[in-house]
Amino acid sequence: MKLIKVEHAYKIYKNGTTAVADLSVSIDKGEFVFVIGSTGSGKSTFIKMLYREEKPTNGSVIVGGIDVAKLRNSKVYKLRRKLGVVFQDYKLLPKLTVYENVAFALETLGLPNNEIRPKVLKAIDAVGLKEKTRNLPNQLSGGEQQRVAIARAIVNEPKLLICDEPTGNLDPETSKEIMAILDKINQESETTIIMATHDKELVNKMKKRVLVIEDGVLVSDTKKGSYKVHESIKNPKKKYS
C-alpha cells in the first residue's frame, strides 16, 4: 500500500524561487528512504510538503490518504498526528526534562496521564535513554538530545517518521548510533522513514532506497542506492516504480 503519493508537485516560493519542480514519487508503507542532493537542491522543501509546513504550489501530495495540497490550515493537525518529525537542531524545550519533553507531545493532544506514562517510557526506552529521563537537555550530549527528539517523534506511534538531516550536527560515531536507532524503529514497528541527509558514508552503508534531488528535480531513484549524485545527473531520470 502506498503511504505517500506525490504527483507533479511544484513548490515556487513567494520570492519566485522554484525549489521543487515536477516531482513525482511514491513510497510504500514500511520503506526507508534517503533524500540526498547538494545544498539548496530542495530536499527540505520536498520534506516540508510532506508534513504540510509548505503547501505545494501545484500538483498533488497525498500522505496517508490526506491530500496535503487541499488541507486547510485549521486541519493540518490531523496530518501531523499521523507522522513524526525530527530536525537537525532537535527543537527540545530547554526547561523540561527528557521525560517531560517526550510527554509534552501527548499532553497537548489531551491524553490522560495514565496513558501518557507507559507510552513515554516505551519511547524513551526505544532510543536507549532510560537512565536519563530526569535530565534537562543541557545535561545531555548532542546525540542524546537527538534521541530525545526521536523519542518525542515516535511516542504517538506514527506511521511515518520524517527526518531532515538528523545527523547534521553530530560526529560520525554518534551519527551511526542514531542511524541504528532509526533502522530499528523502521524494522520493528514498520514505521516508514524518510530522511534527508548530506552524509555520504551513512547512505552508502545502509543500502536503502535513495532519491536524488538536484535543482528541485528528482534526478534519480534507486533501490539499495548509494551516494553517487554526479553520475545520476549525467544519466538522469532512471525512474523507480
Binding site: 485549521s74 509534552f104 507531545a105 497537548t108 493532544l109 489531551g110 491524553l111
Partner: protein, 297 residues
C-alpha cells in the same frame, strides 16, 4: 474528558507563564486594577446619581400661582389641560386658605400679622409634579403662558446646576473609563505578545505534534483571562468594603435627608460581578488581539 484535560493543562500553562513573566504580568494586573477601581467609582456615581435624580423627581414641584381674578371656569380649564399635559404626573390644588394655615403654623410673627389682615393677601395655587426633571423648565414655561397665571416657579437654577454637574460627572468618568479600558487591553495584549514570542519553540512543537489550533491558542486566552481576574480582586474588595463603610459613615445621606445613597446590599455585589466580568473580558480581548496578530496558525 479529553477537552477537559486540554482545558486543565491550558490553565496550568497560563499560570506558569504568568509567574514566569512576573513583572510584566504585574504591570498588566496593576493597570487592570486601576481601571476597574475607576469603573467601580463611576458605577457608584452613576447609580447614585440615578437614584438622586429619581428622588428629585418626586420632591421637585412647580408652583403655579393663579391671579386673584381667576374665574372658576378658568380654573376648570387649566385643570383639564393639566390632566393631558405632557410631563405632568400629578397636580394638587392648594388654596390661599391652605397657604395661610401653613404659614401660620410655621412662623409666629407671620401668624399675628396675618391675623390683622381681614383679606387674605395670598394666591390660590396649583402644585404640579412632573415625570421628567430635565423638562421641568419647559413645562413651567408652558404653564406661564396662561393669562390668569400670575407666576409659575420651581427651584430654578438649582435643578439645572445639579443636573449639569451630574451630566459632567458621568460623561467625564465614562470617557476616562473607556480610555483606561483601551490602555488595559493594549497592555494585556502586549504581555501576551511577549509570552507568545518567548514560547515560539513550544508553539512550533505543538504544531508539529498535531495540537489543534484551539489547543495552541487556549493557554494564551486563559492567560489574559486570569490577568483580568487577578486585576479585579482589589477593586472588588474596595467596592464591597469601601462603599459599605461610606454608607455607614454617612448614614446613607448626602448633604440633606432628601438625597439618599443606594443601599449597599446587594448593590456592592452587583457592582463586583460587573467588575469581574469587565476585567476578564478586557483580559481575553487583549490576549485575543495578540493571538490573532502574532500567532498566525
Amino acid at each position: 474528558m479529553k477537552a477537559l484535560r486540554i482545558l486543565r493543562r491550558s490553565i496550568r500553562d497560563s499560570f506558569k507563564s504568568i509567574f514566569r513573566n512576573f513583572s510584566l504580568s504585574m504591570a498588566s494586573i496593576l493597570c487592570t486594577t486601576i481601571t476597574l477601581i475607576l469603573v467601580a467609582i463611576s458605577l457608584f456615581l452613576s447609580y447614585n446619581v440615578r437614584q438622586i435624580t429619581k428622588t428629585l423627581e418626586h420632591e421637585l414641584t412647580i408652583v403655579v400661582y393663579l391671579s386673584p381674578e381667576t374665574t372658576e371656569k378658568q380654573k376648570i380649564e387649566i385643570e383639564n389641560d393639566l390632566k393631558t399635559m405632557e410631563n405632568v404626573s400629578e397636580y394638587k390644588i392648594k388654596s390661599k386658605e391652605e397657604w395661610k394655615a401653613e404659614m401660620k403654623k410655621e412662623n409666629e410673627t407671620l401668624d399675628t400679622t396675618l391675623e390683622y389682615l381681614t383679606e387674605n393677601p395670598l394666591l390660590d395655587s396649583i402644585i404640579v409634579t412632573v415625570d421628567e426633571v430635565r423638562n421641568l423648565h419647559e413645562t413651567t414655561e408652558k404653564l406661564k403662558k396662561y393669562d390668569f397665571v400670575e407666576s409659575a416657579e420651581y427651584g430654578e437654577g438649582m435643578v439645572e446646576n445639579i443636573l449639569g454637574v451630574f451630566d459632567t460627572i458621568s460623561i467625564g468618568t465614562m470617557s476616562i473609563v473607556i480610555a483606561l479600558v483601551l490602555v488595559t487591553a493594549f497592555l494585556i495584549s502586549n504581555t501576551i505578545k511577549l509570552t507568545i514570542l518567548s514560547r515560539k519553540t513550544q508553539i512550533e512543537i505543538k504544531r508539529l505534534v498535531g495540537a489543534s489550533n484551539i489547543a495552541i491558542k487556549l493557554p494564551f486566552i486563559f492567560e489574559g483571562f486570569i490577568l483580568g481576574i487577578f486585576g479585579s480582586i482589589i477593586p472588588v474588595l474596595l467596592s464591597i468594603y469601601g462603599y459599605t463603610i461610606l454608607f455607614n459613615e454617612t448614614g446613607g445621606y448626602v448633604f440633606t435627608r432628601i438625597i439618599t445613597l443606594v443601599n449597599p446590599f446587594p448593590f456592592v455585589f452587583q457592582v463586583s460581578i460587573i467588575l469581574v466580568i469587565i476585567g476578564s473580558i478586557v483580559g481575553m480581548i487583549g490576549s485575543w488581539l495578540s493571538v490573532r496578530k502574532h500567532l498566525k496558525i
